[in-house]
């Protein structure tokens, strides 16, 4: 198989990718999984590349996962967070980007509070831009690692019923999952209190459940989203306790599932709010495996955007390209 598949300069989201491109990201992640299992976790795939991790919002998992992916591929990396940088001095995004560019970098991984920020940056600098989460828009690498984890357990994505549960309206993870999963042939639903489900979501090709029991009855896979405390203050839900009672994923609710259900969570979890500990730590949960897969998926993304060929990924690990 030598048909070259092109990925463009950036990964800003899954919405405009083809099923084939998404599958290639997942397939390319497979050979990279093994690197993290080695005693010496380093291969020369991105040797000499300079990557900036530009994080305007707090992040532990995503930032560290990208950083490990970059370092295990031998890239030189710099982390910039909004606090303690020129951002607090009032520098705008364009100027920050242009200054980084002037230092001759190759790639930027960005997390930003505003939807569209990754596209905005990608349109203005020649470096590769990877979206590490932009506002309420997309978080493509999270969705890729979710899909990889689902595929690991269910064998395939096509034909599966996946329900995303929780705060859909504010979730970039939800949107990227919806785009990615529907392209790969899954049936996708969302479930949450209607205050947290955006208008027009059906037009993205998903169905909506207003009660979590219906979602559990229907689904093969639940992707449970974090409920942020601020949502209660903003009046979307009356209390966290009530949210847990009516929308939380509990062991008692899962017991009623008609089939063996897989539970994902992008983290960080609020135990006892959207997910109970018995579920998070229980047999249905693949939450930590998502984290492990995150590193491999991000290696694949970095490799492919840097111009690597999918079928050469195995060889590239040995320094041959």
């Amino acid at each position: 198989m030598s048909t070259t598949i092109s990925f463009g300069k950036d990964l800003t989201g899954l919405e405009h990718l083809s099923a084939e491109q998404i599958k290639t990201f997942l397939d390319t992640a497979e050979p990279f999984k093994e690197i993290s299992e080695r005693p010496i976790k380093k291969v020369p795939v991105l040797r000499g590349k300079t990557i900036v991790n530009l994080f305007y919002e707090p992040s532990t998992r995503t930032r560290v996962s990208f950083e490990f992916a970059e370092k295990r591929l031998s890239a030189d990396t710099v982390n910039i967070s909004a606090s303690g940088s020129s951002v607090v001095k009032g520098e705008n995004l364009v100027d920050t980007a242009r200054n980084l560019e002037a230092m001759r970098i190759d790639m930027v991984v960005m997390r930003h509070r505003s939807s569209g920020a990754a596209q905005f940056l990608a349109d203005r600098i020649p470096s590769n831009v990877i979206n590490g989460g932009d506002g309420q828009h997309e978080h493509p690498t999270q969705a890729l690692l979710d899909m990889l984890t689902i595929r690991d357990h269910k064998g395939q994505i096509e034909g599966l019923k996946v329900c995303i549960v929780g705060d859909i309206v504010h979730s970039r993870v939800a949107r990227s999952n919806i785009y990615g999963l529907t392209k790969l042939g899954a049936e996708v639903a969302v479930c949450g209190p209607p205050t947290l489900v955006p208008k027009g979501i059906e037009e993205l090709g998903v169905q909506v459940f207003k009660r979590v029991e219906e979602a559990i009855e229907w689904a093969d896979v639940l992707n449970v989203l974090r409920l942020q405390l601020e949502r209660m203050k903003a009046g979307y839900i009356p209390s966290l306790r009530e949210y847990n009672r009516f929308f939380g994923i509990s062991a008692a609710r899962l017991e009623k599932a008609p089939r063996d259900i897989l539970v994902l969570h992008p983290g960080p979890m609020n135990r006892g709010v959207e997910i109970d500990s018995h579920v998070a730590d229980g047999p249905h949960s693949v939450i930590l495996q998502q984290v492990t897969n995150g590193v491999a998926v991000r290696m694949a993304v970095l490799y492919l955007l840097a111009g690597g060929q999918p079928e050469r990924a195995e060889a590239a690990k040995g320094g041959r390209s």
Binding site: S114, F120, P198, K199, E203
Partner: protein
């Protein structure tokens, strides 16, 4: 005094006199003589050949933001008034949401005086309803009117307290001015940045539902009904508003409404790609809404067209979508968009369009404009109704360039604009130089 000007052989369209004919029009002493056939022309007159062109009353824009005082890098009263003439407008109403706002007589006088000093389009100040636009305490509306305000509004935001709204709509009746309403229910618009719907959902941008406007328009119409005050709804964008206004008019409520060229033309699809030049409030709506406001304009439920010209500096819009300010410029594109969308497409005749861009808005704000009747001030637009041209923002007279119409082909372009008998916009130098050689045009 400047010499007389004869606009010769143009298609003179003046809806105020039900006139649409090929005629000559003489401008002398700042006023209109004629339009007549076989006019006796003074020797001193400069003759301008207007064959193939439309001669019409200068356009009137009830809704313009001039940014002075406070944001003169975006627009000044002079630059905005000049941009207006390039778009065929001879009278514009300046909204009070400047920094500081136009909420006292001195500020009203300043806007009026700067407008006069600039010498382009007539600039009519609109005063604030509430002190500091805070929605709490009523301004000295009588004083504002006596120094030149032609209407009051808190545009940019609604008068949220319905008690204040009621008192305002009662009080303005002593001064015979309209209340211009920015109709928005803030509890529903929240911190939205674009129309709520499938596009906002897919872009992950916070939505402003149609209901945010509908609810407010309903409240405003009901309050107008309660008080008998004259209500003018600014920038109608939803099909729901149209139905509410239609019903209010049927009940005899004193309400008029305007629509912008962009709400007549573009949908929220224009936002895709996070294009900040398509960010405005009210936001671009769905195709069904565009259809509804167009139909309402043709039918007369929406009375007139206004631009909501809202200049913003390049760097203000060159940012993340959430952070960009609302608003687009409109003065220099309005006529070309409206002819393309309404006339060239056969929805509306040229006389009707001129009525809605000149005569009707002049009546709403009781401005001395919107007519070519003999003896009226010579505020005149001359335009080529068929020429196709490309919108190039870098050529605007406005200090700002923020338009989603950049690169689009527009139909109909202003050839000349006269204000008070003076040719203030003449890009092709049609006015012959000197006095005597004017016969051989």
């Amino acid at each position: 005094m400047s010499r007389p000007i004869l606009l010769k052989g143009g298609r003179v369209i003046d809806p105020s006199q039900n006139l649409d004919d090929t005629l000559d029009l003489l401008v002398a002493e700042g006023h209109i003589s004629g339009p007549w056939r076989g006019l006796e022309v003074p020797d001193s007159a400069a003759v301008i050949d207007c064959s193939g062109l439309v001669v019409a009353p200068g356009l009137v824009d009830l809704h313009v933001h001039l940014r002075e005082p406070g944001d003169e890098h975006k627009e000044t009263i002079a630059s905005g008034a000049r941009a207006a003439t390039a778009g065929g407008f001879t009278s514009i109403c300046a909204m009070p949401n400047t920094r500081p706002p136009i909420d006292d007589p001195a500020a009203v006088g300043f806007v009026r005086a700067e407008g006069e000093r600039a010498g382009y389009a007539h600039v009519y100040p609109v005063g604030a309803v509430s002190v500091g636009l805070k929605g709490e305490e009523m301004t000295e509306i009588g004083e504002l009117v006596s120094t030149g305000a032609v209407a009051v509004t808190d545009d940019g935001r609604p008068v949220y307290d319905t008690g204040l709204l009621r008192r305002t709509m009662e009080y303005i009746q002593s001064f015979d001015i309209p209340y211009f309403s920015h109709s928005e229910e803030l509890g529903l618009s929240g911190n939205g940045v674009m129309n709520e719907g499938s596009v906002s959902t897919s872009l992950g941008l916070r939505g402003i539902p149609n209901a945010a406007e509908d609810v407010a328009v309903a409240r405003d119409c009901i309050t107008a009904e309660l008080t008998g005050g004259q209500l003018h709804i600014l920038h109608v964008s939803t099909r729901g508003s149209v139905e509410i206004i239609r019903a209010a008019k049927a009940r005899g409520v004193r309400v008029t409404a305007e629509v912008t060229p962009h709400h007549l033309t573009l949908t929220d699809e224009a936002v895709r790609g996070y294009r900040t030049e398509a960010k405005m409030n009210p936001p671009l709506r769905s195709a069904a809404d565009v259809q509804a406001v167009r139909d309402a304009l043709v039918e007369g439920v929406i009375d007139c067209i206004a631009t909501d010209h809202a200049p913003h500096h390049y760097e203000d819009k060159e940012c993340e979508f959430d952070d960009a300010p609302f608003g687009i410029v409109g003065l220099e594109t309005a006529l070309g968009i409206c002819i393309r969308e309404l006339v060239a497409s056969g929805r509306m005749g040229l006389p009707d369009l001129i009525d809605r861009m000149s005569c009707v808005p002049a009546k709403i704000a009781r401005l001395p404009a919107g007519t070519l009747a003999e003896g009226s001030p010579a505020d005149i637009v001359v335009f080529d109704p068929e020429v196709r041209w490309t919108c190039e923002p870098e050529k605007f007279f406005s200090l700002s360039r923020n338009t989603p119409f950049a690169g689009q082909e527009l139909v109909g372009r202003v050839a000349m604009t006269l204000v008070g008998g003076r040719l203030v916009y003449d890009p092709d130098e049609r006015l012959p130089r000197g006095g005597k050689e004017s016969e051989d045009v």
